[in-house]
Amino acid sequence: MTMLKIEVCVGSACYLLGSQDLIEMIEGLPEDVKANIDLRGSSCLKACGKGPNVKINGELISGVTPDKLMEIIKYNIQRK
């Protein structure tokens, strides 16, 4: 099974717009869910004005909230 690759931007702009909430949300997930996630930080995903930005399996998603990210994770992990 392939891991879900999540890259959260922790650059200045995204951080101010709340990217730490995204990291905390992921880190608070149950261990079995986390086991399927490859979480990384990025220093800037070059879409600063539209943050917080996250790349899911290489695809850039902007304006991500913890709820939205949770949905994405559920969708991707259940689908496997």
């Binding site: 922790v10 702009a13 101010l16 220093s43 004005g49």
Partner: protein
């Protein structure tokens, strides 16, 4: 020979019941070296503080302009009012000047002899008595070596305990004995000054009978640090800037996400964000091989400014966020070079950016002033 750095540590006590200390110390840097001026105003409290402040300010601004020591002393000797009853000047003057090559010049006017500590021995810093404008002034010049220590104290320290715990006070010899013990271990200049002041406080039984000041100057190899923050205005300069940055000796810090990406690209080394090191205000640090510390830019630098004078926050707490790590490294360095890129970060034009976040140029100049006040040499180069 590598350049020597004069590390300065100051500790003070005010006379019991006084809010202001009547001793004043001013540190100045000139291209020709560090100048430390200590003055003890007659009496205590506001009046003494004003006299001492005047004396130190006049002396250090004259010295900063390169006016010869003799002229500085004679100007001060001529202008200082003299107490009618006691026939002594209203304030003392103690100057320590250290050149980048370690040549120390000491001037003592109405103040206790300086201490010189070399290879575990404590001796009076050799001075010759000179008559300058009718005043007897001690002047001494000596080439210092690595690990040499020079200590100057105001007479409140010499007299600690007088008439109480010690009949005649602690005295020059008593202090010398204590210095020998403290300097037997590797100690920083601030530690030495603090230890002497603690003893002094003890002899005064916690109620200092006079303002007391200890200034310690320790010579050691200079520690260098270069901080690269912000991309150059012209991306074509990226390569050259990174090259120059990498050629610098000493510690290297990169502060800024985009800057870190540029460095990683130019060096062909991967950039790894470390998600174990962050808090709600300060983004995580990252790692690039060959760089001592990689942090986010503007938020971290603003937080450094908050921490720089808060030693509890920096050292006592077990904090490992980017700003704390960066502050610690800055505080340990003597020569700091800042390579600052002027490229405007589009992210910072974001209307969601809080107002209290200082923009880069403001943060850097405030940081420069704070670090200079701590006796560090700081140079900012914009590109």
């Amino acid at each position: 020979m590598s350049q020597l750095h004069a590390e300065v540590g100051i500790a003070q006590l005010s006379k019991d019941g006084e809010e202001l200390c009547g001793d004043k110390v001013v540190l100045t840097q000139t291209p020709k070296g560090n100048i430390i001026v200590l003055s003890d105003g007659l009496g205590s409290g506001v009046k003494a503080n004003i006299l001492a402040t005047l004396t130190t300010k006049i002396a250090s601004s004259m010295l900063q302009r390169g006016i010869p020591l003799v002229d500085v002393v004679s100007t001060i000797a001529d202008t200082l009012p003299v107490c009618q009853q006691r026939k002594i000047a209203y304030s003392t003057l103690h100057i320590i000047k250290i050149s980048p090559a370690g040549l120390a010049t000491i001037v003592e006017f109405d103040c206790p002899n300086s201490f010189l500590i070399r290879d575990g021995k404590v001796i009076p810093f050799p001075v010759e008595k000179k008559n300058i404008s009718g005043k007897i002034v001690g002047v001494g010049v000596r080439q210092l070596r690595e690990n040499d220590i020079v200590v100057a104290v105001s007479d409140g320290v010499i007299h600690a305990g007088v008439g109480g715990l010690l009949k005649l006070g602690w005295g020059w010899k008593g202090i010398a004995g204590q210095l020998r013990q403290i300097c037997a271990q590797e100690s920083s200049a601030s530690y030495i000054s603090e230890q002497i002041i603690n003893c002094c406080q003890g002899y005064y039984l916690g109620l200092p009978g006079d303002d007391s000041t200890v200034v310690t100057v320790k010579l050691r190899k200079a520690r260098r640090l270069t901080l690269l923050t912000g991309p150059p205005v012209n991306p074509a300069d990226d390569r050259e800037v990174v090259k120059r940055f990498m050629r610098k000796s000493g510690k290297k810090i990169v502060s800024g996400g985009t800057t870190a990406n540029i460095v990683s690209r130019e060096l062909g080394k991967s950039l790894l964000v470390d998600l174990s090191c962050y808090n709600e205000k300060i983004p995580p640090i990252a790692h690039v091989k060959g760089i001592d510390l990689v942090t986010e830019g503007i938020l971290t630098l603003n937080a450094v400014l908050e921490r720089i004078n808060d030693s509890e926050l920096v050292y006592v707490d077990k904090q490992f966020d980017g700003a704390t790590l960066l502050t610690r490294m800055l505080l340990e360095a003597d020569y700091i070079e800042i390579f600052a890129g002027k490229a405007v970060n589009p992210a910072h034009q974001n209307p969601n950016f809080p107002f209290e976040i200082n923009i880069k140029s403001q943060v850097l100049s405030k940081l420069q002033a704070e670090l200079q006040a701590k006796g560090k040499h700081v140079n900012i180069e914009w590109f």
